[in-house]
Symmetry: none
Subunit: 138 residues, 3 copies
């Protein structure tokens, strides 16, 4: 009886006691910079995090001038992005408003790169769902 | 009768069917930069978000050198700020410590711009209340 | 007996039940910059916040090039860091991956500076625990 009680208490408290599971790793990166050093930094972080935690959910949201990282003729990291997109837990999402402001058509984006209607709302939504937030600027 | 029934069912289910309500959009922008390109960026984001979501709650907290965006003699966006402040869901708050550090008096701020005792605490409070966070830097 | 049991359970669970206390000021600063102006800014913010709120929990997580702020031969703020570390609520944590990438050994860090295996995970964890997040860039 006492043993059962102990088990019940431990089970009840386990969410507060047990360490974070390795799969509970969700981060949204906010990229607004056209600086290719920032592009290389965010790619390096994605590589490092996903190598150690293949189940980590990682999303890069680009607005402002961030789209430069994922357009065919301007990206300095197209191969790295193609490789990262082999991991279904990683996504790249560009703000449609930013594309329109800069006269960039969706067809100019690298394969696999998605668009969202509003990049800032996408980031807010992710934060609301418990994702971590990182401003990607070096 | 059937029509009324249908309307009733749709109304009842609407919270589960309709996309996220426009009113659940709350973001605090963190501005520490004196770079006028950053000032123009944050104003453009505020304009775009509020045009599509007039009910969105948006707040810009300025500390460090961010106050330059909202002082009478330095702001490059005074008219845009005046227009944005017509929306009661938008506010601009400057850190009183930053003003003191830079010998700027509250009277030098653009009309409608508020102060807070501690800009970092203001941002922490908003995050704690479930607001999204965006570092405003281009 | 039952009453004692109840009291014990309530006391044990109180950290999860009771409302936030006024000392509830917890912020993680994300520093990736090698720019000494950013280093001076984050130190100034730590000083100002901790002076007014000695109980505030403040942590600076450095990855990317942020480690430059806390290495013996490069830091421009070693004395300020030593003073801040007298407050047990303040900590400086460097990403071990960033150190390795830059061939910096832990022995080159200023006294009291800690390392974490993954700086981005450290920031995510803190955000998940309800800490505020500030990207430290001027």
């Amino acid at each position: 009886m006492k043993k059962n009680m102990l088990i019940a208490v431990v089970l009840f408290l386990s969410p507060f006691i047990l360490p974070a599971q390795t799969t509970d790793y969700k981060v949204v990166f906010d990229l607004t910079s056209r600086d290719t050093l920032d592009h290389k930094s965010v790619i390096r972080w994605l590589n490092e995090v996903s190598r150690m935690n293949p189940e980590a959910k990682l999303e890069v949201v680009m607005y402002g001038q961030g789209f430069n990282m994922v357009t065919r003729d301007r990206s300095v990291v197209p191969d790295a992005i193609a490789t990262l997109l082999n991991n279904k837990n990683i996504s790249f999402k560009v703000c449609a408003i930013a594309l329109k402001n800069n006269n960039v058509d969706k067809s100019q984006l690298l394969p696999g790169v998605e668009t969202v209607p509003d990049g800032i709302y996408e980031i807010f939504s992710k934060q609301k769902e418990g994702w971590g937030y990182i401003k990607a600027v070096h």
